[in-house]
Each structure stands twice: as C-alpha cells, then as structure tokens.
Symmetry: D2
Subunit: 340 residues, 4 copies
Amino acid sequence: MKVGIVGAAGYTGEALVKLLLGHPKVELTTVTSRTHAGKPLSKVIPSLRGADQGLCFVDSDPATLAASEVNLFFLALPHGAAATYARALVAAGKKVIDLSADFRISDLETYERYYGEHHAPELIKDARYVLPELTSPAWQTEAGLVAAPGCYPTSILVPLVPLLKAGVISREHIVVNSLSGVSGAGKKAEEMYLYVERAESAKAYGLAKHRHLAEVEEQLALHSGAPVVIQFNPHLAPMRRGIATTITVPAAKPDIAALYAAWEAAYGDSPFVQILPSGETPDTAHVVGTNRVDLSAVYDPRTKNFVITSAEDNLIKGAGGQAVQIMNLWCGFPETAGLI
Amino acid sequence: MKVGIVGAAGYTGEALVKLLLGHPKVELTTVTSRTHAGKPLSKVIPSLRGADQGLCFVDSDPATLAASEVNLFFLALPHGAAATYARALVAAGKKVIDLSADFRISDLETYERYYGEHHAPELIKDARYVLPELTSPAWQTEAGLVAAPGCYPTSILVPLVPLLKAGVISREHIVVNSLSGVSGAGKKAEEMYLYVERAESAKAYGLAKHRHLAEVEEQLALHSGAPVVIQFNPHLAPMRRGIATTITVPAAKPDIAALYAAWEAAYGDSPFVQILPSGETPDTAHVVGTNRVDLSAVYDPRTKNFVITSAEDNLIKGAGGQAVQIMNLWCGFPETAGLI
Amino acid sequence: MKVGIVGAAGYTGEALVKLLLGHPKVELTTVTSRTHAGKPLSKVIPSLRGADQGLCFVDSDPATLAASEVNLFFLALPHGAAATYARALVAAGKKVIDLSADFRISDLETYERYYGEHHAPELIKDARYVLPELTSPAWQTEAGLVAAPGCYPTSILVPLVPLLKAGVISREHIVVNSLSGVSGAGKKAEEMYLYVERAESAKAYGLAKHRHLAEVEEQLALHSGAPVVIQFNPHLAPMRRGIATTITVPAAKPDIAALYAAWEAAYGDSPFVQILPSGETPDTAHVVGTNRVDLSAVYDPRTKNFVITSAEDNLIKGAGGQAVQIMNLWCGFPETAGLI
Amino acid sequence: MKVGIVGAAGYTGEALVKLLLGHPKVELTTVTSRTHAGKPLSKVIPSLRGADQGLCFVDSDPATLAASEVNLFFLALPHGAAATYARALVAAGKKVIDLSADFRISDLETYERYYGEHHAPELIKDARYVLPELTSPAWQTEAGLVAAPGCYPTSILVPLVPLLKAGVISREHIVVNSLSGVSGAGKKAEEMYLYVERAESAKAYGLAKHRHLAEVEEQLALHSGAPVVIQFNPHLAPMRRGIATTITVPAAKPDIAALYAAWEAAYGDSPFVQILPSGETPDTAHVVGTNRVDLSAVYDPRTKNFVITSAEDNLIKGAGGQAVQIMNLWCGFPETAGLI
C-alpha cells in the first residue's frame, strides 16, 4: 500500500516521515513541501541521511495528488489549507487522515469562531474524529476522512473520558494545566521561539482562549453525554518535545480504586496507555519517542479532589504516531505496526 | 553592621552570599559550611573568583557563633538543624533570619506532622513569619527571630492574599499548579537530579502532600480570617531557576477590574511586585536574577474562573533576596538596598 | 539466538537493551544489574513501559552466566569488572563483546598505566579491537572476544584512519577537540553532573591525560604503520547525548579532493558513515538516535591545515549500536539488522 | 556624565543597558532602537520591569544624537551601520565606543574583504582597538573613537598575547577551538536559532573563514611584532551565553612555570583576569554574569604542546562589560565601577 504526506517539512511531518519509512506494511512514496520541493528528504531532515530511501520533496497540487497511485494521505498542513486538499483527495477516493484542526469540530459555527472560514464544510458530516483508544470502531467503515486529535486534547481526553463515563469524577471544576515542549508551536522562525528566549524559561500562554478547548469540550460532551466546561491552562516549558498534563477534579466518591478500575476497564489491554501506580507520576522524558500516554492519579483527602497526571510525546501520540495508529486500524494492519 | 550566613554552600546560601557581598549597608564576615570549612569562598563558588573579599568558610558551632561580633545571622540550613542554631543565637541577642521551615508554622503539632521533631519549640511564639509585602510592620519590633517564607509559598501568597482579603475570589476550589527549576531541590547528588535525567523532562511530584502546603494554608487563613484549603500541584521543569505558578479560582464577581484594583491597592507602590496587564503572562526568564514577583490574571467567562499567574526567582524572591529584604526592613535600611 | 547484557542499568546498557529488544535476529533473554536485580526492566527504564517483553534484571555471577543458554554476551561494565566476566564466559565458549576498556589495548603495560591491574591478561592476545568500518574481516574468525571501541575513539578513528593510510594528512601536529554530552560520564550521582551544575555550562576536562588516548594512538599506529601522537582535548557540553569532534591537521597536499577521495574509497558503501560536502558541518542533533558517524572537512589555505569534523551518538555508534553492528557481522546477520 | 546606547534592543544592547543603569558614575539618558521606538525599556527587556528608570527607546538619526547633551555613546549596531553613526558623533566631539567590527581592523582593504564597503574610512586612523588588559594606556589620550574587541577575540587574545610577547609559545601551529552560546549569533529570528534546533545540538561552523580571524591575527601581530596565523574553529553549544576557548600551541620550552609567570606578570593585578591552577579548567557557568576571563593551561609532555583554556561571558567581557570597562578608563572612573 502506498502512502503520502502533504506538508512534511514541519515537526509533525518529520515525525510522520520517520514512522512511515520504518513501517512494515506501507510504502511512503510521496512527500510534499512547497518550500523544499526538489530536495532530497535528508537535506531537510538530516537525521535521515542514508535512510531516506531516495525520496525527494515535491510541490504537488491537490489535483495531481488526487490522480496519483497513493492510497492514503496524511495531511500535516495548517488548518484551512488542509480542507482544500481533503476535498480533492476524498473526491478521488483516497483515504485521508488530517492532522490539522479542520475536521476535529463537528459544529461549523464553532469551528469558524476559533479558526475562521472553513474551506470544505460539506465534508464535515462524513469526517470522523478518531482517538483510537476511545472512539468506537464504527468509524472504520463510516469514515470519509479521519481527523486525528490534537496534542493537548489527547493528553486530556485519554485520562478523563473513562472517568466521566464511569461517573467517578465531577463534571464541574475540572482544571487542566499542561506543559508543552517548544516543538508544539511548530517550526516558526519567530523571536519568541529562539533558543535564547526559551531556554531556562517557563510561562503560561493562551489562557482562557486556546483553540484546543473547542475540540476537548466537544469530545468530553460526546463521550459523557452532557456538556462539560473545563479550565485549560497551557504552558511552555524549556524542552523540545513532550506534554505533561495535570488535571484537578473533584472526586464523585473518595475512592481512588474506582478511578483506577475505570482506567483498567478502558485501557487494560491497550498497548499505548500505561497506567502507573498512584503516587508515581508520568515524566515526559519517559514517553518521548514512543506512542504512549502514561497515566497516574492520587486522591487528596484534604480537598476531596483527584489529581490526575498524564504524559505523552506531542509529536507522536499527540500527532504523527496516533495518525499511524489510526491508519493501522483503518487498513486492517496490527494496531502497533511500525509503532513498537 | 556585621552579618553571617550559617550553611552557605548550598544554592540558597550562594544566592545570599552574592547579595550580601554587594550590599551597601552590611559587612559579610562569617560564612559557615561543615563540608567546605577552611576553603576560600571562591573555591566553592567559582563565580566569585576575585570577588570573594578574601572570605573563607568556617565550621562553627552555635556557641562560637553566639559569642562572635556578628549582629545578624541568616540560617540557610535544612529544617531541624536551623532550630538548634536559632536557639543559641537568639539567646545571645543576635538577630536571626531563618530560611528553613523551622519557624514558618505557628502550630507545633502541624510542624511535627510535616517535618518531625522540633528542636526549639519554645522559640515559636516569638518567631514571626515575614513576607514583607504582606506582613504588617509590627513584626519589626516584636520579632525575636524571623522565618523567611518558602519559594512556592511566596509565589502563591503574593497573588492570593490581597484577593482573599478583598473578597474578589472564592475561598473554595482554589487550584495551584507550580513549575520549579531544579535548584529548588537543593544541591543533592541524587540520580533524579542528574543533568541527563532532568534535561528535556517535565513532571509533577509531591502531589497532595507537599510540605509547603501547611505554610501556605496557615498564611492564607491568617490573612483572610478563615480556613482556606488549596490544591497544590508542584512540577519540575528543565531549568535551573525560577518558579511559574498558575492559580485557577472561581471569581466572586465576573470583574477582572476588581481583581486588579485589589492588587494595585496592595502593591501599587511595591518595588518588588510587578503587575502585568491582563493577557500578558509572567515568564520565569524575566524574573530570574531579580527580587521580583510578576503577576497577571485573566477572567474566563466560560468557567467564571480567574486564572492568575505569577513568576519569581526561587533563590532570590523565593529565598535569599527576600531574606535580605527582611533584613533591610528590620535594620532600618532602604527596602531595596542591595536588591536593585 | 539468545543474547544477554551484563550491567544493563547504565546509559550504555539502556541503549543496548532498546536496540536488542527490537532486533529481528536475536532474543534478549538475560539482563543483569546488581543494584536492580528482581525489578522489571521498565521499572528502571521507564521509557520501556509496555515494551520490556516481561524481562527482569537478574544479579548473576560469571559462573551462572557461563552455564546459561545465552550464546552471546555484551559486557556493559566498568573496566576491571568486565575482564572477570569475560574470562568465565569465553571459557564457556560464549561469544563476548566487551564495551569496557579492558581489551581495547594490546599492550598490558600501557593498559595498567591507564587503568590499573588487569584481571584477565591471558585473554588479551585473542581479543580483537573491532571498529567495523576499519578492522579487516579476519577478526570474524579469529576473535576469542571482541573489544568494542570507545565513544571518543570512534569519532576520531573513523575520519583519520583512511587519511593517514592514504597519506593525505601529516602524522604530526594532529589536534583533536571533542565535545561530549553529559551521558558520556555515565550515570554517576555526583555534584558535577547535576542538572544545575551542567546546564548552560561548557568546559574542557581531562586535558593531556584522558584514558581514551592510549586506545586512539594504538589504533592510529596499527592502521598507519607508524606511531602517531595526538593532542586530545575533550569537553563537556550541556546536552544529554552526542559527540562532536573537530580535528585540525596539516595537509600533506593542499588538496581537499584527495581527502574526500580517501573517505569515498573507505566509506562509499558504508551504511553508517555519511560524508557531507565540504563546508557543511556535522551536528550532533542530526546523528543522535542513529548508528551513524557524519564526516566533513575543509582545507584552509591560510594555515595549510585540513579541519575535519565528525558527529555521532556517543551511546549508539559510540557504544551500544556499534556493539550490535559487531554482533551482526560476527553472527552473519545483515550489518544493518536492528540498526536502521 | 550622560551616556547613550545606539541600537540597544539586541542581546549586547540589553547587557549594556543593565550595566549602565547600575553604574555609579554615569546617567543613561538615551537608548535607541528603530524597531521599538516609543516603547518603555521594560516592554522590550522585561527583566527590567520596575527598574528601567522610566527610559523609553527612541529612533534617532545621527544628526539628532550629535546635537544631544550625551557625552559618550556606545554603538551596539551591525557593522556598516556603526560607521555612519560614528562619523556624525565623533564630528560633534562625542566620545564613541563602537562594539561593531567597523573600527577593529586598521587595514581598510582587509576590512572590506571581510565586511564589504566601509562607510567612514577616514576615521580608521584615529580609532583605537582597546582590550584594556593589553592595550597600552596611550589610547586614553589619543583615541578619537574606540573599537571594543569582539567576543571570540577577547577569549583568544587575553591568554595568547603575554605568552607570545614572553616567547614561551611557538608562533606556528596555533590551533584555537571555541564554543559559544547561542546569543553570540544575535537576536536573529532564523530557523537555525530556534530552541528546537539548537537544544541538545553541538556543531562547528564558519570554519576557515570566520570574520573574527582578521581582528585576532592583526592584534597578535601588533603585540608580538610579527605575523601570526592561527587556525580558528568556532562551535555552537546549546547554552544561552558564554565562550569556552581551548588553544593548542607548541611550547617554546617544556616549562609550564614560564607560561604562568608570563600570565602573572601581565594579569597579577588585573581584577578581571583570573588565573586558575594548572589542571583546573575554566567553566563558562563560572564567568557568565561577570566581566571576567578565567585562564588555565597544562603542558603535555607527549606532544610538547601547551593546552590553554579560557572562559568568558560573550555579552559582558566579550561585549558590553568590556565596553563599560573601556569607558571607565577613558573617563577616569575606577576601572571596576559598575562591573563588580
């Protein structure tokens, strides 16, 4: 099976390229970049020297890609741009896994409030938001295209959804604090992201208005059957990769065992969710380079809250790795193919 | 006036040494370290080469220090050890500013629950916990010795106290997440604190049981006239210094102006508290090396919470700098002497 | 085929474990650690959660290992300790690849001058020092055990050996400066290696007496047929992994083409040596995680020197990866098995 | 006395601003930036919140500055731009200390080969290159304007000049390797300088053609009375500030004492040069934030070389601090005013 990546020169694209070059079931045949068209992969991604299988970047328009032999495309494009490619590729019968925000939100109005005009609204109804550990398998037959979850949302939804469904936590006063490595901002040549500015620096940003909120709250509501409003406080930490998320939420009952039981039921057999003992906290350094989310929680008798922690690699489980996991399921490959 | 530092070879001690060597009103004459006794300061703190004023570390017992000409001592010792020195020095009529936890908690039982046996309980009643921007000046005449606040508590109390007193925030559902640089753990030769382990790594730790809780909640209750219970989630971030604290708390009224008014009233003239416009968040990189706390806040209409952010240098405003500020007030020096 | 790692809890051991767990031709069945005996691999190497294939550390003496079914052992032990295990394992007919210094030096006296007493001197004559790209294949049949090269030596020998043999560089005035990430020092809980001490810090160390000198000079002499004395200046840089080496050497002829021709002849077909165009310098960030050495060189007409640069991952091509490459050749597997 | 900084929004400008705001003998009255004109200093340099003395950036042309009351200007501008300002300010009788390369090179042709057209060549003859520890005091009366040394050159000239003059080292086969923090590249919003690209990355750059060569070799020749050609290999290391330089040079005599004696004679009384015992190497972390250069050396009997190491803060002793030191001498202030 032939796969392609549209917009492969960014940090997410690079993570995808590496996973797909090593994937036992697919052949990566097309890799696009407007900026780097014509260059060998390893010129732009030097860690691939000697291992880029002779691939070069191409600058390809939607029509040409639609006419190609590629069976499945990953879109690693900015929101807005992705929708345009999706329209052409879906029309040509290609499988499309979109890593942008364009199809993560089912309500057009909500999308446009956060992201501006949508360039392929007619596709929204056939798009499926797929977080493999949470989305029920029906998507594998229904989906016209798949929206892969965002990095922050993955680190929030994986711990929270089973707990909301099991009713072990309150739906109110949910406070989410996340720390992200700098690659989360993308490969942007801006002063704020210079080494000298970010090294030895930690700060909150995007308070009370981060775009990932819409996606997180829609999924929480969908899975738990009622609206959920959360406080989401993202932070930048001086590291390249990784997201550490800490969630404070009132316990429905003072019963940490019930919380762990809900996780065990949801993830006991999941290769990509590791449940740590209460009191042992996830560390981004332990998940970077993997497709895992590590989870842990404690009950605080003083506050009657659960404090829930998760860690993931924002570019793998938070982006490229999860997209490959989605492809594996969609195409009937082993879920872990190319990922462990 | 002659000052001394007991236990000056750690990270806090080093910060104190540098501030006091440059202080216009005092002479640093005594610097103790059991490990490094006999060595010149600059052998242990190489950044002081050519600037250590010929001082050497001494290994001095409480009695000898009590008999010395030094007028004021800073104790930069582990809790437990500090109390023993405090007893001897206070008895000898020395002014003592303790940077350990030994005199931060007025209730002996609470202290011993968190820290174990107290070695000078009789001094607790005459000790005063002094956060200069918050503690009313009476301490300057009453204090037998002064307990300087902890690093995390400073970053939490400065933003919260005026808001609780003004009634602009709820006393319930207060969630505090803090990120600390690795120096907060002290100069401990343990695997966990090795460069290779901490670089590129972020994680929560000490959830639901961090020792600073007792101190923070006692002060919040003291200032606001009623018990306050908070959720405190500390994290390690891969940087040497700095604490970034993010506090989520329900707003009493949806009025960010009222919050800022309370801060302005409390800190409008304070040289060491900088109030940033709503939407501009403090950054640890902007306060490291200063005695400042930077503050900001936003109101989130979706959650009806305020999200409050602060940043400080854990070794200066969170430790040595604040201790010097206390000395300045206690001795009638300009508050900013040696600090700006 | 069954393989084992003796001393697998250090940084090199961890790199080996990960490579061998993913290796298509071998089964990792035995992993030893005195400190962590009894613990699952993933307790000590949390990045392996869910992927440690149920392995636990054992504390095994040489005799027990000698009696086991394991066919090949990697020794990731300190020098001195390795020799003792090598003696027992070789006697039992096991293949042994030693990553310590114990068998890198053919002259016992030289070894003992740098490292102290040798615990299995009788094995030295049958041991072979194998840098796969440079050592002629005879070792594959002759070797009683194999000494894998050190991290610094690999980054120096790969660029220099073909140039000395081709006579394109002087054998005099060779100056080698190397920067190493902190993992090169091993997992040592010492103040010097704490995050706070090493972050934002660069310094030379071990000048004029680094142990790797003996190994480098013996190999240079062996390959070039005459003694070579080099200046080796190692440095610590604030990063976890990677070695960047810069070599200044007088050119035999002012002919950069001749230098590149010698490299092409030696490494044109090598999967693990990448030759960069003159003027494009290797970057440790581009080789970390790979088994590569990247090479480049410029001619400086002002000084008549070549300036030669190389980069590698000190834990992979500089240790565990190269050891796996050696195993692949020794056991008749494809050279790149488990490495690309 | 009133001083001004032209081009104060870069990293060097920021270092200068902080030193001059705290300087006991001068008043910083004018700070220019085209980009940030009109903004308070602390808006652009947030670490100055509450301490920027109410100063705002202005966008001022040479004529306006020439007509101002400012007595002395620091030029922290790119080469080329600096010359134009220098011409106007010198003509108006202002003291000018230029931190760019425009007046570091006495030979116009050499300058233009490295830097392109010179915009005020007529000023070169009256300009003096001043490295305070090395330049004989005559400059203080002769200088029409002063060229402050570059960051790399300072770290090379301070160790080498006394040794060349004393004849304890060879003038041939001098090999200089330097590691610089990323701030050395200036505040450039380019992909290469992004946090994600530089963290955990070390590499050589600018081999055989770095612009600082011309300056270093001119000064070495000037001080030692004969041409000196060096190999200069600069490297980027993942840190914000600091330069560590390692120099390998054949010893004239195998006598480390003679080398130290030459340094003692040159720097014994110098407040800003610290001579470390042989075997103890300078560390950038120990000099960052100071105006110091730390020096050390070893003799290698195997190679008959001296290996000489130095460390400095590239933004202080390598730029702003040295410029302030020059001002102190030029204006008759204590040499250490505002620097210790």
